[in-house]
């Protein structure tokens, strides 16, 4: 057995780990077995997999990896990551919900927050109804892997008509002293006519080894609900992240999501929004700032299944160094989805010769009475604008920074929580240093 593990591929190691640990994992073994079987069929994607050809997760997953989930963080270490002073804070360390580091006192009526393990144990009917119902294991190997191997995460439920004023901040913190793979998983259910603002931030701390986080969040937005969702990804050099976000929207709901990728060696976002009924509104915004050898890949899917819905997508990127940024935005307009309005725009600034941007919009339209448009641009910073600023005494470095901020501001300004907007602006300024 010993030798098998040492010489085997990461796929074998994951399967071995699954077989030896599955009895200790929460929930339904059958679901996990099926997911593992699906992962077994798909494997870790290589450059031969069209959807992953620009992001070589397989290369990153070479060598030894650990699957244990230690808790290392102290209160003092977490404190600076709680950048929203007035929020309900959930801390998930190496994929495990840590009550002691979270701030969940005095939750208002209608708001339930607990670990996935506890949600499952308590036989919560909401959990049972929605858990693992939306992210399809057959469509992606990382969904399959997460579904098979997740140990924990957070379950958030906002009951019918509840309007949660304060934001809910989920902090994913990773710490590793050995190369580690984790599979955090969250389920967020916003019931009919309820409202919530949810922020997921991804950070690494004190690590001396690579940490690969295969994180998955399912979000259920019921009828008339209004949800504002943010992801702030700032995992630094040792962070490797595959982040799946699967959203299902019901009638007349409004869902806005914002993905800010500020650092991380490798970041892959798989964002899918399904508009499953009529009169739905969806907004997808994204900003990625890449440098050095970073690889950042945003794959989004907007799936219009019913008539009279609107979706609007804006992704912008600034690419420096030898980094590789990819935007792949798919819009489906199904046969039933007449009177759909779907817009998509991807704009990039390439700062360096060695940087790469791959941008690919894909529209698949099966209805005839629809308004859809997409566009993508890649350019340099505008020399005429740089000169205008310099002609007023602004040095070339600051002139470029002002223009980069200006470019990013279109996305940053979509942040509706002021404290969060300020935080992101500050982070962006640091990135430009």
């Amino acid at each position: 057995m010993e030798t098998v593990i040492k010489t085997s591929t990461i796929k074998d190691k994951l399967i071995f780990e699954f077989e030896t640990s599955k009895l200790f994992l929460f929930g339904n073994t059958q679901l996990r077995d099926q997911a593992m079987e699906s992962f077994y069929k798909q494997g870790i994607p290589t450059r031969k997999h069209e959807a992953y050809k620009y992001i070589r997760v397989d290369l990153m997953l070479k060598g030894e990896f650990d699957f244990s989930t230690n808790k290392n963080c102290s209160d003092a270490q977490i404190e600076p990551l709680k950048f929203l002073k007035d929020a309900y804070v959930v801390v998930i360390e190496n994929g495990i919900f840590v009550e002691g580091l979270s701030n969940l006192q005095n939750l208002p009526e209608g708001l339930t927050i607990c670990s996935l393990v506890d949600a499952e144990k308590s036989n919560s009917p909401v959990f049972e109804k929605h858990y693992a119902q939306y992210a399809d294991v057959k469509t992606d190997p990382f969904i399959a892997l997460n579904t098979a191997m997740t140990k924990d995460g957070v379950f958030i439920h906002i009951a019918k008509n509840a309007i949660i004023e304060k934001p809910i901040h989920i902090i994913h913190i990773s710490t590793a002293f050995k190369n580690t793979i984790i599979h955090p998983r969250n389920l967020i259910v916003i019931d009919e006519n309820a409202q919530a603002k949810i922020i997921e931030s991804f950070e690494t701390m004190d690590s001396t080894a690579k940490i690969f986080s295969n994180a998955l969040t399912e979000i259920v937005v019921d009828k008339h609900a209004i949800v504002d969702h943010y992801k702030i990804q700032d995992e630094k050099e040792l962070g490797y992240l595959v982040n799946t976000t699967q959203v299902i929207q019901q009638k007349q709901s409004v869902f806005s999501t914002h993905t800010f990728t500020l650092s991380g060696s490798l970041v892959r976002n798989n964002l899918t929004v399904v508009l499953d009924d009529e009169h739905i509104e969806s907004h997808l915004n994204g900003l990625y700032l890449t440098a050095k050898n970073q690889v950042v890949d945003n794959h989004t899917v907007v799936d219009h299944r019913k008539p009279n819905c609107n979706s609007n997508e804006l992704y912008k990127g600034i690419i420096d160094g030898k980094s590789i940024a990819t935007f792949n935005g798919k819009i489906f307009v199904r046969e039933d989805a007449q009177k759909t309005n779907a817009f998509q725009s991807n704009k990039n600034i390439l700062l360096s010769e060695a940087g790469t941007i791959n941008t690919k919009p894909q529209l698949e339209i099966y209805a005839d009475d629809v308004k859809c448009s997409h566009g993508s641009t890649t350019g340099k910073l505008d020399e005429a604008k740089i000169f205008y600023l310099r002609a007023r005494g602004i040095g070339i470095i600051n002139a470029k920074k002002l223009l980069m901020h200006a470019f990013a501001s279109e996305v940053v300004n979509t942040i509706k929580i002021e404290a969060l907007r300020e935080y992101v602006e500050e982070k962006i300024s640091k990135t430009f240093e």
């Binding site: 000169f387 205008y388 310099r390 007023r392 005494g393 602004i394 002139a399 223009l403 901020h405």
Partner: protein, 250 residues
């Protein structure tokens, strides 16, 4: 203050300025007139430090320094200001943040302490009044969605804020109606002092009814072909540019 000697400049291998000589002393206002394409904006761009132009011959001495050796931003910090013929729009950068950054850098360059926020706001208010620019415009992104006249007025507003020593106004009058022209001229006149100098580039004499030049130069085909006192502008207006061409070619 400014001494231009035998200045030759070209772009993409094409020579545009063909030996310009010009002396400007503090306190003076010089008008440069000339037909379209004669090289007026090129001269302004070379003075401001636009790097696309190659200076192939000649020199520019500004307050004892070789201006051509300074980067564009350092020229601005040393007090050179160009009001652009075609000011561009910069969405996402607010006028206020822009001016704050510019003033901050200029003061740092001169070794001065940063300006206090309160003082900056007071100055902003005062200069807004001086050039009669709408407050709403000032709080917007640089020139974004501004009309032609508003853009020109914003240039003069920036000039008022930065208090340059040498201002070059490149056809600031074109596209302005008579009221706007009067306001802009009024602003320029108020900003004029014994310590600074102004170059007014125009091809109509109209503006010179409001801003009285000390000297008038006529640029033709990359050269100053005639210089004189303010009466030259009137003569030019009367006889048209053709008389210059005839004189030069004769």
């Amino acid at each position: 203050m400014l001494s231009i000697k035998n200045l030759h400049a070209s772009i993409d291998g094409k020579e545009i300025l063909k030996g310009i000589n010009l002396e400007i002393k503090v306190g003076e206002v010089h008008a440069i007139m000339g037909p379209n394409g004669s090289g007026k904006s090129t001269l302004a761009a070379v003075l401001a430090g636009r790097s696309e132009y190659d200076v192939t011959e000649g020199e520019i001495i500004y307050n004892g320094e070789n201006l051509l050796e300074l980067e564009a931003e350092d020229r601005a910090r040393e007090g050179v200001f160009l009001a652009f013929q075609y000011p561009i729009e910069i969405p996402g950068v607010s006028n206020i943040n822009f001016l704050k950054t510019a003033i901050g850098e200029i003061r740092a360059y001169k070794g001065l302490d940063p300006m206090k926020a309160k003082d900056f706001l007071m100055m902003l208010k005062e200069k807004q009044k001086l050039v009669e620019i709408d407050r709403a415009l000032v709080s917007r992104s640089i020139n974004e969605g501004f009309s032609g006249g508003e853009k020109k007025r914003n240039e003069i507003f920036q000039m008022a804020m930065l208090e340059p020593k040498l201002s070059i106004l490149d056809e600031t009058d074109s596209g302005l109606d008579i009221d706007a022209l009067r306001i802009v001229a009024n602003g320029v006149n108020k900003l004029k002092s014994k310590e600074n100098a102004t170059i007014i580039i125009t091809h109509y004499q109209r503006l010179l009814d409001y801003i009285i030049p000390d000297f008038v130069h006529i640029l033709h085909n990359g050269k100053i072909v005639k210089s004189g006192l303010k009466e030259l502008a009137l003569e030019l207006e009367e006889k048209g540019y053709d008389f210059i061409k005839e004189e030069v070619e004769a």
